[in-house]
């Protein structure tokens, strides 16, 4: 490479493995989470093959149960939760606020190795024979009845939680203390706001997950009654603690996605984001209210009617800021000068899928309707629209948007546009039929199902084939671009923001001179194209 950059500043493996450069750590993370994405995806593929026919004719019931469990554990904790924060967040957050690195570079590297350690536990769980509790570890099944490797799997999740906490802590301190002169709070890009809000949720919620997993271990190992009524425990207590983490975890996945999409839409519409302050308040509101809605996972659990009603109301309230964001993205396009490079197609795909995911969330927030729909494929479809349609589309949109910045290379634009479109279609074909299955009464986590559900399951499995192709494609053309792609200029999209003022790839120290920020973000204008 012609210039000195973080990529060629030390070329040994050692220089990568003990790096404290936030940009290199981001790349380490991106390799690791990509590997886990395909592990989780392999399990999903197997599940969809089994479900192509009503009979359990591909794998045994136990194997099926282990497949959906590992799919959930890997996708939630080893892909979705770390996805945007540890890769794009790690790489961009310091540059976007004009900082030299994160506040605690060593802690950042520790976060990576803790993630790897958690990942090793998870892989050992699979090799040893798997775990069959579902990613939700519901008690007393997980503590007293499952004969699979529950503790090994729980240990992996327990450990990887500390990676989340360390990264979150690091981001919070960085945003508070390391902003460049002039980078006031309301001049921060929305991606930074999203990272900041996500970090707070990570730091506050993840310890509760650690506690609940530790309590599982205590009951399973020592037989001390915490959750199993046979020992004097309460299984509903588990659900409260678990969802107190796991509902906010959904926002850990989707807030960063919203941040990415806000950056992309404003750039390719050549227009300042509509209602910047409302966008910030919406991010904050989602972060806060998101902590108070966990009981909507428990409308039929046996919790009291009054709890159910309060959680139902709060769940409707948390939908308001999400609606505002969708309206504001749409309004940003108004009188813009819009072009449709791959990141924009991913971002628009995100808006469409997130819209459907959000609206179907209202069905589940309506407690009386939830009584019918919960624990069925309707819920599976709903959360895949949010987490896969939403968060994964946004993650890939972000990867494409910042790819030239990160790698210094341009990818093949047409391939990227096509795979984004293919992903959108494959996704809808896979998951939309599942809404119908849920309403018709097909329960989730079923190895075998009634014949009358086959047609829709075949459609879903067919969609999964397309989706799988659409996920493999970027792996191919992005890898290709690393070696053969054209060199990227510093600012290929003519985008605003500090990350586009440094060379591509950025120098090790990010900025030759500490930048100052004279203005609000997103000074795009449609005339300038």
């Amino acid at each position: 490479m012609s210039e000195r950059s973080f990529l060629n500043d030390g070329v040994t493996l050692r220089s990568w493995l003990i790096t404290r450069d936030h940009k290199r750590i981001a790349i380490l993370f991106s390799i690791a989470i990509t590997a886990f994405f395909f592990v989780g995806g392999l399990a999903a593929t197997w599940i969809r093959i089994e479900l192509a026919t009503p009979k359990g004719d591909v794998v045994s019931a136990d194997t099926y149960n282990k497949l959906f469990t590992i799919h959930g554990i890997v996708m939630v904790w080893f892909f979705l939760i770390p996805s945007i924060p540890t890769t794009l967040g790690n790489f961009l957050l310091p540059i976007m606020i004009g900082a030299r690195d994160l506040a605690f570079p060593r802690l950042n590297l520790a976060s990576f190795y803790i993630y790897i350690l958690g990942g090793i536990f998870t892989l050992i769980t699979v090799i040893a024979g798997g775990v069959d509790t579902g990613w939700t570890f519901y008690t007393p099944y997980s503590t007293m009845f499952s004969n699979s490797y529950v503790l090994l799997a729980a240990a992996g999740v327990f450990i990887v939680g500390f990676s989340s906490i360390f990264t979150g802590l690091n981001f919070i301190v960085t945003v508070h203390t390391m902003r460049a002169p002039g980078m006031k709070w309301f001049r921060m890009p929305l991606f930074v706001w999203a990272m900041y809000s996500t970090s707070i949720v990570m730091v506050l919620a993840t310890p509760v997950l650690a506690m609940v997993l530790a309590l599982i271990a205590i009951e399973r190992i020592a037989g001390i009654g915490i959750f199993d009524p046979a020992l004097g425990g309460d299984p509903i207590l588990f659900q409260h603690l678990f969802w107190f983490y796991s509902h906010p975890a959904v926002y850990i996945m989707v807030l960063p996605a919203m941040g990415v999409v806000s950056e992309i839409i404003t750039c390719f519409a050549r227009k300042k984001i509509f209602g910047y302050k409302f966008m910030v308040y919406a991010i904050a509101a989602i972060g806060v209210i998101g902590f108070m809605v966990w009981g909507h996972h428990m409308f039929v659990s046996g919790q009291s009617m009054y709890s159910g009603l309060v959680f139902s109301l709060l769940s409707f309230l948390v939908a308001v800021p999400s609606a505002i964001k969708v309206f504001n993205w749409t309004a940003t396009l108004y009188k813009g000068s819009i072009s449709f490079e791959a990141p924009m197609i991913y971002a628009l795909g995100f808006v469409g899928l997130f819209l459907i995911g959000g609206l179907t969330g209202l069905f589940l927030a309506a407690a009386a309707v939830d009584v019918h729909l919960t624990q069925t494929y309707f819920v599976v479809a709903h959360f895949h629209y949010i987490m896969v349609g939403g968060a994964v589309m946004a993650y890939l949109g972000g990867i494409h948007y910042w790819w030239p910045k990160i790698t210094g290379r341009l990818y093949h634009e047409r391939s990227a546009q096509l795979s984004a479109a293919l992903m959108f279609c494959g996704f809808n074909l896979t998951f939309f039929p599942q809404f119908l299955l849920g309403y018709l009464g097909m329960p989730r986590r079923y190895h075998e199902y009634a014949d009358r559900f086959q047609m829709l399951n075949v459609l879903s499995s067919a969609g999964a084939v397309i989706l799988a192709l659409a996920y493999v494609a970027p792996l191919v053309y992005l890898t290709w671009s690393l070696f053969r792609g054209e060199r990227a200029p510093a600012n290929p999209w003519h985008a605003k923001g500090l990350e586009w003022t440094v060379s591509s790839p950025p120098p090790t120290h990010n900025f030759a001179h500490p930048p100052t920020v004279p203005d609000e973000p997103y000074s795009y204008s449609p005339e300038s194209r």
């Binding site: 007393p140 409707f316 407690a367 009634a450 009358r452 559900f453």
Partner: protein, 223 residues
């Protein structure tokens, strides 16, 4: 009940309780609202994308200009709609939770992987639940091991069944027939086989059925 029409193309689910049409009413209202919102927003997205595509000659003057308090409107409109849906759903949810007095009680025990049922008359059955039509019925349920859930799609009702305590589910069936019953709380190996049927019969038939000397019940998992 046409269990025979199982060609994989059956997109309907029967509706067999007094609450089912009410749940469907709210469900389809939500479908209509969601369809409207989706079409409206997607139409706006597509319209803007076409009209304001780079290079088009559309008027872009005052692109960042002053605007009405449009954000207040799009906070207020969803909020009001959401609150209406919340109240509607809350009323129904309360109905689901509030059995009338003088229900016919049936006792159900879930265990890996079967449903054991005992009627007031003493008659027992497994993986089949006979219930009378036209009168309120309350299922009083508990589990012998892990958490299960009792779900009858045709009733639009579902309730977790927990070890160590009783949960109840009440309904008034409106249509005689045989309806599928599933366990929907993951409970281990044969979770997907923990099902059965609910048989709704006219009350006199039910009384007669319940009074009959029960055939010997074998305790073996449904498979």
């Amino acid at each position: 009940m046409n269990e025979t029409a199982t060609n994989g193309f059956d997109f309907s689910v029967p509706s067999a309780t007094t609450i089912a049409p009410s749940i469907d009413g709210l469900f389809y209202t939500l479908v209509a609202l969601s369809a409207f919102a989706t079409i409206a927003i997607v139409a706006a997205l597509v319209y803007f994308c076409v009209k304001y595509r780079a290079g088009s000659s559309a008027d872009r003057s005052d692109a960042h200009g002053a605007r009405l308090n449009i954000e207040d409107i799009w906070i207020a409109v969803p909020l009001v709609l959401f609150l209406i849906v919340f109240v509607w759903s809350a009323v129904l949810y309360a109905r689901i939770f509030t059995p009338p007095p003088n229900t016919t009680d049936i006792f159900i025990v879930g265990k890996q992987w079967m449903w054991k049922v005992q009627h007031g008359s003493g008659r027992q059955e497994i993986n089949e639940v006979h219930v009378p039509m036209g009168v309120p019925v309350r299922l009083v349920m508990t589990s012998q091991d892990v958490i299960h859930a009792f779900f009858v799609p045709a009733f639009r009702l579902k309730q977790d069944v927990l070890p160590g305590r009783y949960t109840a589910l009440w309904f008034q069936a409106t249509k005689a027939g045989v309806y599928p019953l599933s366990c929907t709380e993951y409970c281990g190996t044969d979770h997907s086989r923990m099902g059965g049927t609910v048989v709704v019969m006219p009350q006199e038939d039910y009384e007669r059925w319940a009074a009959q000397k029960p055939p010997a019940v074998e305790e073996k998992p449904h498979s």
